[in-house]
Amino acid sequence: MANTQQLTNLTTQVRRDILRMVHKVNSGHPGGSLGCAEFFVSLYNDIMDRKEDFDMDGIGEDLFFLSNGHISPVYYSVLARSGYFPVEELNTFRLINSRLQGHPTTHEKLPGVRIASGSLGQGMSVALGAAQAKKLNNCKHIVYSLHGDGELQEGQNWEAIMYASGNKVDNIIATIDLNGQQIDGSTDDVLPMGSLRNKFEAFGWVVIDIPEGNNIEAILKGMAEAKEQTGKGKPVCVLLKTVMGNGVDFMMHTHAWHGKAPNDEQLAIGLDQNPETLGDY
């Protein structure tokens, strides 16, 4: 448990990590990563009850599954800064022979990662499976997952969403990163999805809104509310409204930085806007 100022400082450092990681290899996905920095920091440092050491089965602790694996920079940064592996290893992001693959994988045995993701739409099913295993194991902990809003265009999600309520999987909190952007433009331009609240509710889920998804206090409050709703016979969805590229002014509110790295000059500006707090890797 950390106070809000500590979490804010950590978030700033995570933003620096994200920018430096993608800049170094001139590839990766900074936009969605920056948008979810507060969420990841809050999740790993406050919300989740997790063990110090990593083991795959994760019995006796909360689990997290990242379904939209392309935001690996924020995931890696927060995992490293939560003690799963040395922060220096962030230097190897997307390089040959690295455990920090472009998209997260268990294949290279990176501690903290329990499933490969990148091909979209699969994480909801996996998280639900892990939640069912927790029930069989009489483990009272919760399974958290994160999904992009554009990712919900993949049909497998809706198979999973229907399954979850039909089978009363009430130990899951699936968060949707509602940044309204995807590669080709805004989600409304690419494929309008209507009201996600209405859709999830129609599928039998409890829906919690976090309208300020880049505000740590709002995240903590909303996720606490979501946790209250677990164990009551229904799966829980959090609609986390975020700003893509948050914290770097020229990257905000646009899909342009979905999968594009900053150049030297842009990196300098981004880092200037996010002064070092805990020390760069």
Partner: protein, 317 residues
Amino acid sequence: MKTYTNTGNKDTRSGFGAGLTQLGKTNKNVVALCADLIGSLKMDDFKKNHPERFYQVGIAEANMIGLAAGMTIGGKIPFTGTFANFSTGRVYDQIRQSVAYSDKNVKICASHAGLTLGEDGATHQILEDIGLMKMLPGMTVINPCDYNQTKAATLAIAEHHGPVYLRFGRPKVANFTIENQKFEIGKALHLINGTDVTIVATGHLVWEALEAAKALNEKGISAEVINIHTIKPLDTKAIIDSVTKTKCIVTAEEHNHLGGLGESVSRVLSQHKPTPQEFIATNDTFGESGTPAQLMEKYGLNANAIVNACEKVIKRK
């Protein structure tokens, strides 16, 4: 020549069901998932005996594969059940990323493989599944030949850590291997020793290979018959040793010649022991409606076809 007795026709899918029933009693970590085909997959007993470990997922195979991958996290050993077509082609990317690439201990159990589900036709038949599955790094691919062997394979894969594709079928076919046999993944079984030609067969074609060997014997041709129940990893030594003696080979499978057992054998032989080979397999085609026997005759997947292929390949030595 060694002969084998059919103790009564049985479907291989029922061998799977019997194995799963036994696993339910002996291994508490085994869980089963099914996509609305409990009766077809013979999962009824497991469901009845262990409702808390049985998951009906509905007609949603992609979700089923993901759920199974997730359930391994927490130590479960999930067995998924649906038709071979919906177990592979329909969910290839889910298997690729969430199971194979993620190194998950999921057992993908697939019935109605090949042509022999019969009348439903090509939408429900699949002749590409061995190829699809063997191409996935880390995937074990098993196609047992009869009821007893399918039951034994079902028990064995629960003890093997890693993703497995277990392929079986719907028709009642000869049951001729011994009851309660030990099943060793990746170990070919010599059924008949011979000197003139090697026949390596998998699945339903193994019995046809035995029938072919009998017919060849009457013609004075000595055929060696090997049951390749595990297509990956392939028992390369058994194949190389056999052709060192016979100098020619026929492969037999209820699958497309592209991507099947025959190609795996060719690769091994071209590297280590170039040998004339003939393929009993479908020729880059979809199936169609018909009775299993009609289909196997039309597509050249029976004992007669194997006999002809053997005579042809012997001439190529």
